[in-house]
């Protein structure tokens, strides 16, 4: 299905539940690319988390605001960019200052747990630089075979 690079776009409202539809669409793609079932599940979970962040945080659950997913695939790599309309910027620096233990103990905000989870599930992830008014753009990538480096930094 993916001999050369191809891209897919998926646009949907900022309403919880729609991330499940995105998860199905992208899961199918990953499966057809030959990712093994556990990694497809990891990607589905990571994508759900990223979409929920974009819906709840970036678009403040305003349903008329859109979430935009661009999926670029080549023979051995799948890259997703999840964009919102940036009503609020994601405090991404928080993930570096609080550990998951601190969050669980209630010593730090529970926000950012999703990002920690995503880091464990995919090969690469992070926010892309965006200009004011451009919204948050979160990128995640998975390779086949996997390239798990840097995931221990969380």
């Amino acid at each position: 299905m993916a001999q050369t690079q191809a891209s897919i776009e998926l646009i949907f409202p900022s309403q919880l539940g729609y991330e499940k539809i995105a998860r199905e669409a992208i899961g199918t793609l990953a499966r057809n690319m030959g990712f093994d079932p556990t990694r497809v599940e990891d990607l589905r979970t990571a994508l759900s988390e990223a979409c929920i962040n974009a819906i709840e945080h970036g678009n403040q659950r305003q349903t008329q605001r859109r979430i935009h997913i661009t999926c670029t695939i080549s023979r051995n790599r799948l890259v997703l960019v999840i964009s919102d309309e940036g009503l609020r910027f994601h405090p991404s620096q928080e993930i570096e200052t609080a550990t998951i233990e601190q969050k669980l103990a209630g010593l730090a905000s529970a926000r950012g747990m999703g990002l920690m989870l995503i880091e464990q599930l995919v090969d690469e992830c992070g926010f892309l630089p965006s200009r004011p008014g451009q919204g948050n753009r979160f990128r995640l990538a998975m390779y086949n075979p996997p390239r798990r480096h840097g995931s221990a930094t969380a």
Binding site: T4, I8, L10, I11, K20, A25, N32
Partner: protein
């Protein structure tokens, strides 16, 4: 088809999912899984979801093979619009080849099809059998557009 009022796009922008796919066979599976995830969420029965999957698969395959002539740089755009009455699915191609409107009217003759080299011609008939409303049009920009509607039983 019988109830043109229903075809009017609803003002409910919140329940619209847009999917852009490259014109390469295999990608219709992404559209099928997006359709079934949305239909299940809306409460369609298992059988209706299956019918929808088949119809979407046929429509997207037609757009890839005929409308866009397998040119993978050309996009197939699928728009799912949910309402309380049902689900509208629009499938648009970029129209390298405009659909012969007479094809949309005829019922294939099984004897003729079995003896002909061209095994095509069943897709549109099948879509019309499976969906509650089907409408063909040509976009001002030249692409083919197929609109199909599946009603929610209440």
């Amino acid at each position: 088809m019988s109830n043109p009022q229903y075809m009017a796009p609803s003002g409910d922008e919140e329940r619209v999912i847009e999917l852009h796919l490259p014109s390469r066979l295999g990608y219709e599976k992404v559209a099928m899984d997006t359709a079934s995830a949305m239909a299940k969420r809306m409460g369609f029965s298992h059988d209706r979801v299956d019918s929808l999957r088949t119809a979407v698969s046929e429509a997207v395959t037609n757009a890839i093979e005929h409308g866009n002539q397998h040119d993978s740089a050309m996009k197939v755009v699928v728009v799912f619009t949910g309402s309380d009455d049902g689900l509208i699915v629009d499938v648009a191609d970029q129209g390298r080849k405009i659909l012969d409107q007479t094809i949309t009217e005829r019922t294939p003759d099984i004897h003729q099809v079995l003896h002909s080299d061209d095994k095509g011609g069943w897709g549109i008939w099948l879509i019309k059998e499976l969906m509650d409303e089907v409408q063909f049009s040509v976009a001002p920009s030249g692409g083919n557009k197929l609109r199909m509607v599946i009603h929610l039983d209440r």
